[in-house]
């Protein structure tokens, strides 16, 4: 290795050349904006657009001033519901599909996984519009489909009702992204050495028993990873709600999540003007929620599961 003397003694120039472009772009367009947003959340703007340092005032306003706090707590609560639906529906279905796909001697495995994964590749915006059409009472596709199984009366404009809109949107998102847990868990299941399951088969265990007692404990670390990926994606979601319900996340903010609240706060909507510093405050809160989730995963889940797997 060539070592150049001088200022960078022991630090060859080619190492710098290799690392500099990536590090500079990443620092400038990712790390700096994130940190600077946190700084901006400690400022307020006045009528002239000038920034004044106001400490934690924005946070206190966001959490306690009814004008802001109602929207904030509502979005946070909705976001947790959104996440819970993913954990309770998306991940179990993903695990089930992965378990079926990884069964030995299954015919058509490649076709199944390719086709089931397809919606995941499409843009959330497209998916949102497609389901908006399908669930529209104007078109009546869902109604006639329910008619096939004798449930015509059961149909309601789910996306338009306050009580069902959020759940419906969450299920649309589940429908789209079920491919991700499926693939990750499928990969983990394939990595389980065969001799572990072979002896169980010889002992007469069914595939069901093998899955519950041998495979599932071994893929718990992957399930934990899928969960944290879901958590981060859900608390950062925006596109689906925005394209189906707009920035107002109606009806009556019943589908408002942190991402849409952030957008509205930052850019404004209708009569309310955009407020960059308050937007930065909402973003920092989202950052905090995501950070807590990631740290919980790294320091609690991952360690516990690793000990268990050993």
């Amino acid at each position: 290795m060539s070592v150049r003397g001088g200022k960078f003694a022991g630090f060859p120039h080619h190492v710098i050349v290799f690392l500099a472009p990536a590090t500079i772009i990443y620092t400038m367009f990712m790390v700096y904006p994130l940190l600077d947003s946190i700084r901006l959340s400690l400022y307020s703007t006045d009528g002239t657009g000038a920034f004044h340092f106001t400490g934690l005032t924005n946070y206190i306003t966001l959490i306690t001033d009814p004008e802001w706090s109602n929207a904030f707590w509502n979005a946070l609560k909705n976001n947790f519901k959104f996440f819970c639906v993913h954990m309770l529906v998306q991940n179990p279905i993903g695990i089930m599909l992965a378990a079926l796909l990884s069964l030995p001697k299954l015919k058509g495995r490649t076709a199944y996984r390719t086709l089931i994964f397809m919606p995941t590749m499409l843009s959330v915006v497209i998916i949102g519009f497609i389901w908006q059409l399908i669930l529209s009472p104007l078109w009546g596709v869902s109604e006639s489909l329910l008619g096939f199984i004798g449930l015509t009366d059961w149909f309601q404009p789910w996306l338009g009702q306050e009580g069902t809109a959020l759940l419906t949107l969450a299920l649309i998102s589940v429908w789209q992204f079920v491919g991700i847990p499926m693939m990750l868990i499928y990969a983990a299941l394939l990595n389980i050495p065969e001799d572990l399951t072979e002896s169980a088969i010889i002992d007469g265990a069914t595939h069901w028993e093998i899955f519950w007692h041998i495979k599932l404990p071994l893929i718990l670390p992957t399930i934990a990873m899928v969960s944290i990926l879901t958590f981060v994606a859900n608390f950062n979601a925006f596109d689906l709600i925005y394209s189906v319900k707009g920035a107002l996340a109606g009806p009556d903010f019943s589908t408002d999540i942190m991402g849409t609240l952030f957008y509205r706060t930052f850019f404004g909507f209708q009569l309310q003007l955009g407020n960059p510093t308050m937007g930065a405050t909402v973003a920092t809160m989202m950052f905090g929620v995501i950070l807590v989730g990631v740290l919980f995963y790294l320091f609690v889940l991952q360690r516990k599961l690793r000990r268990y797997a050993l």
Partner: protein, 278 residues
């Protein structure tokens, strides 16, 4: 008899997989077939395939006439390809440096670059917009490319580093014995060897960039710089009651991705499953 039991359980498994597959594909299929039908047939017989008397391309005509779809499409292609190329080359350079050379702060820098895997860049949007405006890059594709590179690099570096650690030592040592300098080793020996990892990095870069709505909306919403995702979103918002046009614009946005997916699915899926191992 165990044989019949096995046949029944195998049938049940296929029944579950086929029904889930239908659930996954039916909405996409329905959108595409209806985009080729007349308005009357869309409402009269939504589930029917387009036939001789129901076939119509009116929706597509309207979309191409009323919007700059070709421009949106080109914008998306330019942004995605530029991002992908730069992420691959810059990511490979950094991954190589991190996995090959021992220097002070190596671990720390690796960790620093990895933080971005978990923290979404979107949360820095307020400051990012200011930065882009100050750099005079608002409403340019360059702004999008720079942000997408920053967003994609952490995972790319992570995947490529894992890959580079598997490159046999002999190859590098042989080159070094011949007195070849480090740049030549990287560009002539190492870079060609990383080709198999490109598919993996490609999936994780290409799909989120192509599908993104947030940054085009915030950094480059002008008519000239809209990407396909934003273009479709705006178009549908405007013509929401024109079902022909809406269905046609959705189909125009879906079909290219479906074709690419079907062509590359083998690589894409291998990439995902390989990248997921650790």
């Amino acid at each position: 008899m165990p044989k019949t039991r096995q046949a029944i359980s195998s049938m049940a498994i296929h029944a579950i997989l086929v029904s889930y597959m239908l659930i996954a594909l039916w909405p996409i299929f329905l959108t595409i077939i209806n985009s080729f039908k007349s308005r009357k047939a869309i409402f009269g017989d939504p589930m029917g395939l387009p036939g001789v008397d129901t076939f119509s391309l009116k929706g597509f005509e309207k979309v191409l006439l009323r919007s700059d779809f070709e421009i949106y499409f080109m914008n998306s292609i330019i942004v995605t390809i530029a991002t992908l190329a730069l992420v691959l080359i810059l990511g490979a350079m950094a991954a190589w440096a991190l996995s090959e050379y021992r220097f002070k702060g190596n671990k720390l820098l690796g960790l620093y670059l990895a933080i971005g895997i978990m923290i979404p860049i979107r949360l820095g949007s307020v400051s990012l917009l200011q930065l882009i405006v100050n750099m005079n890059l608002a409403n340019t594709l360059t702004a999008l490319v720079l942000v997408y590179i920053a967003q994609s690099l952490p995972l790319a570096i992570f995947i490529l580093s894992e890959f580079m650690q598997q490159i046999p030592k002999d190859l590098k040592e042989a080159a070094r014995c011949d007195g070849v300098n480090e740049y030549t080793i990287f560009f002539k020996v190492i870079l060609p060897l990383t080709r198999p990892a490109i598919a993996t990095v490609g999936v994780f870069t290409l799909v989120p960039v192509w599908n993104d709505l947030w940054f085009p909306l915030i950094l480059a919403p002008s008519e000239k710089t809209q990407t396909i995702t934003l273009g479709v979103q705006q178009f549908i918002g405007q013509y929401v009651t024109d079902w022909n046009a809406v269905l046609a614009s959705l189909t125009l946005a879906i079909v290219p991705i479906l074709i690419i997916y079907i062509l590359l699915s083998r690589h894409l899926i291998r990439g995902i499953t390989a990248g997921a191992v650790k």
